[in-house]
Symmetry: C2
Subunit: 353 residues, 2 copies
């Protein structure tokens, strides 16, 4: 604590991301990364861009990438905002649409960066308890004072909320912005992007870090009514004109163009998730029906924390939260089928001891 | 203006960066970019990194790059903070060290992003008038209520303030943070980094966008006492865990390792600046003694705005600000000697008409 920090900064409780280890001997299933590399076309685009003009600033408006994403989703570029990873997009969203004194609603079990943003921007919060089975009750998000945010699928529960329920939440918050954080939506049923033209209060946030294998490149986006996008751009342009570098722009464009690679890897991860879930259930784990690239799993024959610790010793990194309601759960990212089979063998060795 | 924006956002006046045109026919001397590409070793490092693991998150603590910069300047990594371009570093600095109700001091002619940050963070400001010759009077920055920030060399004046004067400002603001924004310092006499161990209230901000030819990669840094760096990291980790992508980290490390390339290109730009300045003076321009990779220049035989417009028509993009005290000045980035010679010919054609 330093006297040079202002009073707000002294109170912050920063977000702590999952461990990032570079040890190739470890099977890393703790931060929901994609086990597959990005499309080879993405790498070619990055190499080409690097050769040409890294000494020049990138486009501050990122129009080309916004148009590409617009084409993919049937939106205009004025409906697309780009940020330095979806965490930056979310932070700017909190800053633009929420305000001190008007409580925002988010689930009590959710992405743990939301309370951190709320502190940073001095927002009041109304944490809504999930149901016993970890599902979201739409009615409990109606009539917020200051806005709503939740991930769909939710993290770390992995559960998906149907678009009908999201529509009900939008209708019952018509004067407030509702942010749907779709970091994992490509592993789920359907994006809420289809609702954008009907609900001017809907902001959909996505990332290229999960389904598009580009966690290392830092690109996220928000989609919504042009007024919401303009608000985000005003804040971004008051903070940092050039948030996305040339290589990230070039790579991200190609990631949206190569739909064949995207569909292939996405479907393979979904198939592996279903295989892994069945195998865990055979081993008496409770596993809510995941629509993400991870599962939340509760073992019956061993304490979750003990299993987490023993798996770490055996070279498998997964995530244990040690939070109310999640004490006996583990979050496990979906890797390749080979990685998940190895993990199942390791679980068997530990539980059979 | 949308009702979904909060009251603060409605009041913002975002920064407007210089035009970024991709037209290769234009000689672009308007945003102080480096005319030379980055070191070939930087490009190799980027290509190698792209091949390995873009699907994995980068290091959230960026330790390897912090150590490399620390080695370069004789600092520990705990004295180095990394951000997504120096604009992000500055924004986070404003947020961490300055606070509403305590006016900060900066020059009346300076980097035009400072008033934008001040609005974003609702800070009171005390704009200090430069002397007639655009120099900074150190005494006028003594005893600030809330902190001090200015670029050295200042932009767009191009003038450098000696370290003795900076020490006097530091001594007379011992309870406040003094941010020296050294975006252009590699084209000047000496960095204030040498003062860091003596002044715990000094934060030095630099960028890889100018002297290291990496405007397209978005990397900036702050250096100072470990307490100041820890404060910046607290805010960063409450905003966005992973601000620097893997390719930017790999490229930036190599940019600091290849000192030979850096020295060669840096010296060439300084030599071209001196040549260009002499040539402008021969043509009766008033040109303050620049220590940056640009000059501020006032023509005697034509209005600055007219020259700006005619040069644009002739295919040369420079910067005209249309602000008090700068009405008859132009800011011209230093390109290659060939580019500057072409520009001089174009100026001759216009003024001899």
């Amino acid at each position: 604590m330093s006297n040079f920090w202002n009073p707000l900064i002294k109170q912050l409780e920063p977000y702590i991301p999952g461990e990032q280890l570079d040890d190739p001997a470890i099977i890393k299933l703790n931060t929901n990364e994609n086990p597959f590399p990005p499309s080879p076309k993405v790498l070619t685009a990055i190499e080409e861009e690097a050769k040409t003009k890294l000494q020049l600033y990138p486009s501050p408006t990122v129009d080309e990438l916004r148009e590409e994403i617009g084409n993919y989703y049937g939106l205009k570029k004025e409906q697309v905002f780009i940020g330095n990873g979806s965490d930056e997009v979310l932070a700017l969203g909190f800053m633009t649409f929420f305000e001190p004194g008007k409580a925002i609603k988010y689930p009590d079990i959710t992405y743990s960066f939301y309370p951190v943003y709320a502190k940073l921007y001095q927002l009041d919060v109304d944490e809504i308890a999930l149901e016993e089975d970890f599902t979201i009750s739409p009615e409990s998000f109606f009539h917020s004072e200051g806005g709503v945010i939740f991930p769909n699928p939710n993290a770390p529960t992995s559960l998906y909320l149907e678009l009908e329920a999201i529509e009900a939440i939008l209708k019952n918050n018509s004067d407030q912005v509702v942010i749907i954080d779709e970091a994992y939506v490509d592993f789920a049923e359907k994006s809420a992007v289809s609702l954008i033209d009907s609900y001017p209060n809907l902001l959909v946030v996505q990332t290229l870090s999960k389904s598009r294998s580009l966690a290392g490149l830092r690109v996220g986006m928000a989609m919504g009514h042009p007024d919401l996008i303009e608000g985000l751009n005003r804040v971004k342009d008051s903070f940092n004109s050039y948030t996305i570098d040339r290589l990230a722009i070039a790579g991200a464009i190609e990631a949206f163009r190569d739909t064949a690679y995207f569909e292939k890897t996405r479907k393979e991860i979904i198939a592996t998730r279903e295989y892994f879930r069945r195998e865990l259930e055979k081993r008496r784990f409770h596993v809510p029906p995941s629509q993400a690239n991870f599962v939340l799993a509760s073992p019956a024959d061993i304490e979750a924390e003990k299993l987490f610790t023993e798996l770490k010793q055996a070279g498998f990194l997964i995530r244990y939260f040690n939070k109310p309601k999640l004490e006996n759960y583990l979050r496990i990212s979906i890797g390749t089928k080979e990685q998940m089979t190895k993990l199942l063998h390791a679980i068997d060795s530990i539980t059979e001891k």
